[in-house]
């Protein structure tokens, strides 16, 4: 039986509401607790609910339960979780008994504002933060390019930095912001226009015993022609002045050529050396960039070079199931170069190689589970692995699949038990599974522990994404 309730003007963020839905829906036919956006209205209708007229600022509570009692109980659970979340956030926000601020401009003494509100509103909060002298990190995506340019112009005029929009990773003075790994302090400064790219670089450096000073995130569009590297330039200036930074590394997907050139020109006039690790078909992968840095620092240790895959060969296609977009990209590039065959994907290298990520694959295929279309109404795959685990099981049963390649990313913000979530499915696999494990020993999930669990389940674990990709292709007998 179904029951639906609407709370007008009652707002909670989507992550919190997902938790409410999960807990209320446990053991019954279905629960949707979400803001009444067009998308969620469609989801509710698909679940068989009939909705009254709503606005996107209203909360939908839609429960489908087998009987009256469990229906009532589910609604009680919804109340309890909502109240618990509110209590927790109020407790944490202040010890003086005063209500929390309602806008960033009314907080006291903060030097950095982290914004993860829905993209259509993020601009407003970012302006408020900048006007109040705060640097800004915008986790949200779906901010228009005009707004991004305007924000960055305001920031430049005020001597502040905007990391983002769509910036998921940064490390400032050792503090991990967003999805970031726990690393040791050191003297390498990183500027990254890619989240998992930054995570991979920092973790490889950590494995080699090299620490970092800061990792400044730029967001996905800073190096486009339109935005012209506004934040990149500010980041270069900051790191050039930073007393703890001796060497600077720049990591990004291919930038607009004139922007890349202007950054290189700036770099040549700086005090400190800048190593450019631009990914893409003419660039280097992250492991190669890391090795350039180590060479510059005269560090010989390359722990990833010792890891091994399997010498036995498999037949069939390579299937990549990725949580990190950049990691997926670089693995696809390696596969494309070596196989000289089409690599189908929902983020394909060539237009003709487009794949429906929900449908079956027939040849080499890579799926980026973090792509927008795949994270509608669900958390990012680094947090919730359900979709990826389902696909993994499917690929294992698929006769056309020869070898599977995956990334598992550790650190702040990611699932606390990624290996545990994959282990059962991996142990049941008859096909070789290659995993790049992106993390450090100090990460909350503990790199060593995760590696052991994945290896015990039968996967071949690599600390380098590039090496994992090569090992997977080796297992398919693809010549180098």
């Amino acid at each position: 039986m179904r029951r639906i309730e609407i709370r007008p003007g009652f707002y909670r963020d989507s992550v919190s509401l997902m938790q409410v839905s999960q807990r209320a829906g446990a053991g019954i036919d279905g629960a949707l607790v979400a803001m009444a956006t067009p998308l969620n209205i469609e989801l509710a209708e698909q679940m068989g609910f009939v909705l009254p007229l709503t606005s996107p600022n209203d909360l939908i509570i839609a429960i489908n339960a087998p009987d009256e009692e469990s229906l009532a109980r589910a609604f009680v659970v919804v109340e309890e979780v909502l109240a618990e979340q509110l209590r927790k956030s109020r407790e944490q926000s202040s010890d003086s008994g005063v209500a929390p601020a309602r806008t960033l401009g009314r907080t006291k003494g903060a030097g950095l504002a982290l914004i993860s509100v829905p993209g259509e509103f993020a601009f407003i909060d970012a302006v408020d933060a900048l006007e109040n002298g705060m640097n800004v990190m915008i986790f949200s995506d779906n901010v228009t390019v005009e707004d991004e340019i305007l924000l960055k112009n305001i920031a430049v005029a005020r001597g502040l930095l905007v990391m983002g929009p769509d910036c998921g990773t940064a490390i400032i003075g050792g503090v991990g912001l967003g999805f970031a790994n726990v690393v040791s302090p050191g003297s390498v400064g990183i500027i990254a226009a890619s989240g998992t790219g930054a995570q991979h670089l920092t973790t490889l450096l950590d494995h080699a015993g090299v620490g970092i000073s800061h990792c400044i995130g730029l967001g996905g569009r800073d190096l486009s022609s339109a935005v012209a590297g506004r934040s990149a330039k500010e980041a270069l200036a900051l790191l050039d002045e930073d007393e703890h930074t001796d060497l600077i590394v720049f990591v990004s997907k291919p930038a607009a050529p004139e922007v890349a050139q202007s950054l290189k020109d700036i770099a040549s006039g700086m005090k400190k050396k800048v190593i450019f690790g631009l990914l893409g078909s003419t660039g280097s992968d992250i492991t190669e960039t890391t090795e350039k840095v180590l060479h510059e620092l005269d560090v010989k240790h390359r722990p990833w070079a010792q890891e091994v895959g399997t010498s036995s060969t498999a037949e069939g296609s390579l299937r990549g199931l990725f949580a990190g977009g950049t990691l997926c990209d670089e693995a696809m590039l390696i596969a494309s170069r070596r196989t000289r065959a089409p690599i189908f994907s929902n983020i394909p290298l060539e237009k003709d190689w487009l794949l429906d990520p929900f449908g079956p694959a027939t040849s080499h295929a890579f799926i980026d589970f973090g792509d927008d279309a795949m994270t509608v109404g669900r958390a990012h795959p680094m947090i919730d692995s359900k979709l990826r685990v389902e696909r993994l099981a499917r690929e294992i049963k698929d006769p056309s699949c020869g070898v599977i390649l995956m990334d598992v990313v550790l650190g702040h913000g990611a699932s606390p038990t990624p290996a545990e979530e994959l282990a059962a499915t991996i142990s049941a696999s008859t096909k070789p599974i290659f995993i790049s494990l992106i993390g450090t020993t100090l990460d909350p999930q503990n790199f060593e522990k995760q590696k052991a669990l994945l290896s015990e389940a039968g996967a071949f674990v690599f600390m380098s994404n590039a090496y994992a990709a090569h090992a997977a292709l080796d297992a398919l007998g693809v010549p180098r």
Binding site: G174, V182, V183, S184, P185, P416, P444
Partner: protein, 225 residues
């Protein structure tokens, strides 16, 4: 984060603290003493640890926890058992460090003797004499003054375990942020009044004693130059 990690803690990096070789083993720690803001612990394998909750007082030996526990064991490389709860490391703090300058001069024997005699002199958690020696060690390192004041000197019974650990730290260039800044500024020849005020505010008399030690080193350097 799972709920049993409700209060995870930042931990100083072992790699920034070379000589003390703390925390290599999985060991339990015994509480040696508590003051209002800090507690100090001795590991069964001999390592030394302080527990506190303020980044500005970040000692090189520190673990940060919201309050002093009664039981403390290092469970793995990044996990601690604190009063029965398993806490994970969440962040590594950078330890302020004075880089070692290559040797320029040798400290006069009279200065060394004088400093050696001060070890353990004075009352308190960190005796004044030890503070003077620590100040000297930091600035000597910055200016390239070589000397024979080493761990064996203060590991004799004369001083507190806590103070001996801080002297080891100073010998290797580690100090709390305000002391490290002061040492750097004095080595460069000019300490700002703001830094001096902040230094003098350290502890009850520690700050003044540290300053005296720093000035001793600076004088040696000037005379030799």
């Amino acid at each position: 984060m799972p709920s049993d990690r409700a209060q995870t803690v930042p931990l100083f990096s072992q790699s920034s603290f070379v000589v003390l070789q703390p925390f290599l083993g999985i060991e339990s720690f015994t509480n040696l003493g508590v003051s209002s803001k800090i507690s100090w612990w001795l590991g069964e394998l001999g390592s030394f640890l302080t527990i506190e909750n303020d980044e500005a007082r970040a000692l090189p030996t520190s673990l940060f926890l919201p309050k002093t526990p009664s039981r403390l064991t290092r469970a793995s490389i990044n996990e601690w058992q604190v009063d029965g709860a398993l806490l994970g490391v969440t962040r590594v703090l950078r330890t302020p460090h004075i880089a070692l300058h290559s040797t320029v001069i040798r400290a006069p024997a009279s200065v060394e003797d004088d400093l050696r005699a001060r070890i353990g002199w004075g009352a308190g958690l960190t005796p004044e004499g030890d503070d003077e020696v620590a100040g000297f060690l930091l600035v000597a390192r910055a200016l390239g003054i070589s000397h024979s004041l080493v761990g064996s000197v203060w590991k004799s019974e004369r001083t507190t375990t806590f103070s001996a650990a801080l002297l080891d730290a100073a010998l290797h260039g580690f100090a709390i942020p305000v002391v490290a800044s002061a040492a750097r500024e004095i080595a460069l020849g000019s300490m700002t009044s703001r830094t001096q005020d902040a230094l003098l505010a350290v502890g009850h008399s520690s700050g003044a004693a540290l300053l005296r030690g720093m000035e001793t080193a600076e004088r040696c350097f000037r005379r030799a130059a």
